[in-house]
């Protein structure tokens, strides 16, 4: 970073910053970075292009970390002390979604954990940009002797998402076709040593490509030159993940919400439920047994008016029963959708609720998520 006046916090740049600017992106501050919220064609066009063909996202602001120790068992046990997922049971090349938990079972951050195919002494983690400094401190404070955390800040991260992603990436890395959803492998992509996972944050098939920072620009240019590919900013990334029913940290999940309340119990595998031994396990195992007091639900409002974060949710009697945590317009549906938390009595599919938007009462129905079906390649 260039020097800046004392007291001001300069925005950080990803290795692709100048390319976003050259593409005419509208840049906004996000998690301490100057990031593209949209390019020239706009959020809806970018969103629809990702659903129809392939979108290219710069997600280099996210934290890429490596937990390093003597062997898989040691690093897995170190991480299992912080997350409720079965890490020990990962096979080489397998990726899993999990959450860093506080002692009350609240979510400090959500993250992707990968056991690499090519080395048994480490786990690769991808954490949220806004949380990464805190995550690094938290993880380091809790590591046992002999296990360390490396910050891979010499790497960029690109996401290539959409039904044409496989065809596009396979032109430059044929082995990409061999990956299935939530698996990963090191591979050469157009001559750069990358680590590629088949995962993403859109509900579409696609890949996340970890690339050395000094090769990121060339890879971005190469993928963007493919006829199926358009650049996609943070605006469409948010509308895509909302349609896919995926949580946004700091909004749909936070240090108060537990994974069970958030509908993420699927990410707590059986062995961990039997053994416990993760932060907040008392609360979480109790919630798994008896059900949580509140649950994250999907809502389909009537009409066209979007109900955004913070919107009050009331029951038929007009009592406050919850709050919207993410909401907006779903381009694929041409209609608004929302997610939020309600008292568990009101979480059943088909329950009629009321959203209060600018003083107006909008009828809404509890609907299953995702709002738009996932199209992962399993």
């Amino acid at each position: 970073m260039a020097s800046s006046p004392p007291g001001s916090a300069p925005l950080r740049h990803t290795p692709l910053h100048s390319r976003h600017v050259a593409l005419g992106a509208r840049m906004v501050p996000f998690a301490g970075y100057d990031m593209p919220v949209q390019y020239a064609k706009g959020i809806i066009a970018e969103h629809q292009h990702t659903r129809k063909a392939a979108g290219l996202f710069d997600v280099s602001h996210m934290g890429q970390l490596a937990l390093v120790g003597p062997d898989h068992a040691s690093v897995s046990r170190a991480l299992e002390a912080l997350v409720p997922a079965d890490i020990l049971g990962l096979v080489p090349g397998q990726q899993r979604y999990s959450q860093l938990l506080n002692d009350q079972g609240g979510i400090i951050d959500d993250l992707m954990v990968t056991r690499p195919l090519d080395s048994d002494d480490r786990l690769l983690l991808v954490v949220n940009a806004a949380c990464k400094e805190g995550d690094i401190r938290h993880i380091r404070q809790h590591l046992p002797e002999g296990v360390g955390l490396e910050v891979l800040d010499d790497r960029a991260l690109l996401a290539l998402q959409g039904p044409e992603a496989e065809a596009v990436l396979a032109r430059h890395a044929p082995e990409a076709r061999n990956l299935s959803f939530m698996t990963a492998a090191p591979m050469q992509v157009a001559g750069s040593a990358c680590h590629v996972s088949r995962s993403g944050y859109t509900g579409e098939d696609g890949f996340e490509i970890s690339v050395p920072a000094d090769r990121a620009g060339a890879l971005w240019d190469l993928l963007l030159a493919e006829p199926e590919v358009e650049p996609v900013g943070l605006g469409a990334r948010d509308s895509l993940r909302l349609e896919a029913g995926l949580c946004l940290y700091g909004h749909d999940i936070n240090e108060e919400t537990s994974p069970v309340e958030a509908g993420l119990a699927w990410s707590i595998q059986r062995r961990r439920r039997q053994e416990g031994g993760f932060p907040g396990s008392h609360r979480i195992l109790e919630e798994l047994e008896n059900g949580p007091l509140r649950r994250r639900i999907g809502l389909q409002p009537e009409g066209r008016m979007p109900a955004r974060e913070g919107t009050e949710i009331k029951d038929a009697a007009g009592e406050l029963v919850g709050e919207v945590t993410s909401g907006g317009f779903a381009p694929t549906l041409g209609a608004p959708v929302a997610m939020g938390y309600v008292a568990s009595d009101f979480a059943r599919e088909g329950t009629q609720l009321t959203l209060v938007v600018r003083g107006k009462e909008i009828p809404a129905q509890v609907v299953p998520m995702p709002f738009v079906a996932h199209r992962y390649k399993r």
Binding site: R26, I43, I44, D238, R304, P306, P331, P336
Partner: protein
């Protein structure tokens, strides 16, 4: 027929004692894709600077303020059905409402088209 602008990027195109209100081309470009518009009831009396309508993009909701005081005499219901018209033709088919001016003197507090162009240069 003269068009005036506010610092909040509303316009009002005045013919006689009525004006057509909408948002400027700059405003629609800053908002991005418009997905919802909420219009006032015909007959509602607005005071200058009060909330007249709401326009929502994919990202956020924004208020549209009355450029002058007066009574709402028509609203453009077509943009409730096809909000993208606000992006495509903000100064034409993407208008929001028509107002009967109660105090034409308030127009003097607004910017002319030329002044608005200069104003845009100072904020971009």
């Amino acid at each position: 027929m003269t068009t005036y602008y506010t610092k909040d990027h509303e316009y009002i195109r005045v013919e006689g004692d009525t004006g057509t209100v909408g948002i400027s081309d700059y405003a629609q470009s800053q908002l991005g894709d418009v997905v919802f518009v909420e219009l006032p009831a015909v007959g509602k009396t607005l005071t200058k600077g009060a909330e007249a309508a709401v326009v929502e993009s994919v990202k956020a909701a924004s208020e549209v303020y009355a450029p002058v005081s007066g009574e709402v005499i028509a609203v453009n219901s077509a943009i409730e059905e096809t909000p993208a018209t606000v992006n495509e033709d903000p100064l034409g088919d993407g208008w929001f409402l028509k107002i009967r001016l109660s105090n034409a003197g308030e127009l003097q507090e607004l910017m002319t088209e030329e002044q608005y162009e200069d104003y845009l240069k100072t904020i971009s």
